[in-house]
């Protein structure tokens, strides 16, 4: 079974790592990357972000759990609906290691980097 965690902010993608442990709160199967260290790797980042004790612990620490909480509240507040469905295959197709990247595509877009 694959991890049911999702990654991204502007676009969402399935994690697709092998799932290891179910989240003790929501029951979704997660890989270790999608389990919150501050919960002893027992809950996923989304659930840990809604736990006030853990929120207090991580105040000022911008880690993956904070990012999951920020993403949820941003979507809820703004109504933003991320494009989804970019699979690992799609993502790797944009990767420089699996295709020839032209010079145009490797330089930072829009602005002069200096």
């Amino acid at each position: 079974m694959t991890c049911e965690g999702r990654k991204g902010f502007l676009t969402l993608a399935n994690c697709e790592n092998p799932g290891m442990t179910p989240c003790s709160n929501c029951g979704r199967t997660m890989c270790t990357l999608h389990l919150a260290p501050q919960s002893g790797f027992s809950t996923c980042h989304d659930c840990a972000a809604t736990n006030p004790d853990q929120q207090q612990q991580q105040e000022g620490e911008y880690d993956d759990t904070w990012a999951a909480g920020y993403r949820s509240s941003y979507y809820a507040d703004t109504g933003y609906e991320p494009a989804s469905g970019f699979s690992r295959h799609d993502r790797s197709s944009f990767s420089s290691s699996t295709r020839n990247v032209s010079e145009d595509e490797t330089e930072p877009g829009g602005f002069d980097a200096s």
Partner: protein, 282 residues
């Protein structure tokens, strides 16, 4: 002390960045954040300790003066030991305060740069370097001063002086997982107003107030093969491969505190809201 322990755990490159207060890096987003987080943690610890050290210095100074008066006539061995101990505490806290001030970096780094990169981390292509430049010096250093107006009177204040600063403190560029090229620049324009008045008891009081205008320029260059662009705000252009949307936003605040990361995220999200998969549109 925690701050010393945190500082010692940094690599030579991280320590150099804290000393030089300039960050310029080309690394994939994951390793970049791993490199930056200890710097942010060190700054956070130093900020907390600095306030305590300042208070300790002030209290020790007052106690030292009182102790000198108390023990001075005549000096005894106990008196000398007590006064020396207080003087040591005072000097120690002063030098530690100076040292922590030396490694202090602009709060823009910890409260804007790190949160923005953390939120967007999984959107960046994991194996492609992103380019990040951050000026970590204070926004009101002399080097950033652009002008000082002539003193004028305003109400109860007999002397008001405006000083302006320009702080282009961040630029960033990188490739997202969907092939979009995302870049942004943030520049702060600051007006520092020092107002001096004399109160009823004849004391001179000076207040310093700030007004900051943060200009955020964002460029989102989406692949035409992947996205069709709907109606969107900003300057739109296109070439053979990409739709390029350039957006600007100004955020005005009455303090030097970092702006909300959302100001930038909203701009980028605004472009994504109007984008549709190219296949779907075709």
């Amino acid at each position: 002390m925690n701050v010393l322990k945190t500082y010692r755990s940094l690599t030579a490159e991280q320590k150099r960045i804290l000393r030089e207060k300039r960050l310029e890096m080309n690394r994939p987003i994951g390793p970049l954040l791993e490199f930056l987080r200890p710097l942010a943690a060190c700054d956070s610890t130093a900020d907390k300790v600095r306030t305590k050290l300042g208070c300790t210095f002030g209290i020790a100074l007052v106690v030292l003066i009182a102790a000198i008066f108390f023990f001075a006539k005549p000096w005894t061995l106990t008196g000398i030991i007590v006064v020396s101990a207080i003087a040591l505490v005072m000097l120690g806290s002063f030098f530690m305060w100076r040292w922590t001030s030396g490694i202090d970096v602009s709060n823009n780094f910890r409260q804007f740069t790190i949160p923005v990169l953390t939120v967007l981390r999984d959107d960046f292509a994991p194996d492609q370097p992103v380019h990040l430049v951050v000026d970590l010096t204070s926004p009101t250093t002399d080097a950033k001063k652009t002008g000082e107006g002539a003193p004028f009177k305003h109400g109860a204040y007999h002397r008001v002086v405006d000083t302006t600063y320009v702080d282009p403190w961040m630029s960033f560029g990188g490739m997202l997982v969907d092939g979009t090229k995302l870049s942004w620049k943030v520049e702060d324009k600051i007006r520092e107003r020092k107002k001096t008045k004399r109160n009823a008891r004849g004391k001179t009081k000076t207040k310093t107030k700030y007004k900051k205008k943060s200009e955020i320029d964002v460029s989102v260059a989406m692949r035409k093969k992947t996205y069709a662009l709907g109606e969107t705000q900003g300057e739109i252009s296109s070439d053979d491969k990409r739709h390029v949307v350039k957006l600007e936003r100004e955020v005005i605040t009455a303090s030097l505190d970092p702006i909300d990361p959302r100001a930038l995220l909203d701009l980028v999200a605004q472009v994504y809201r109007t984008a549709r998969p190219a296949k779907e549109s075709a």
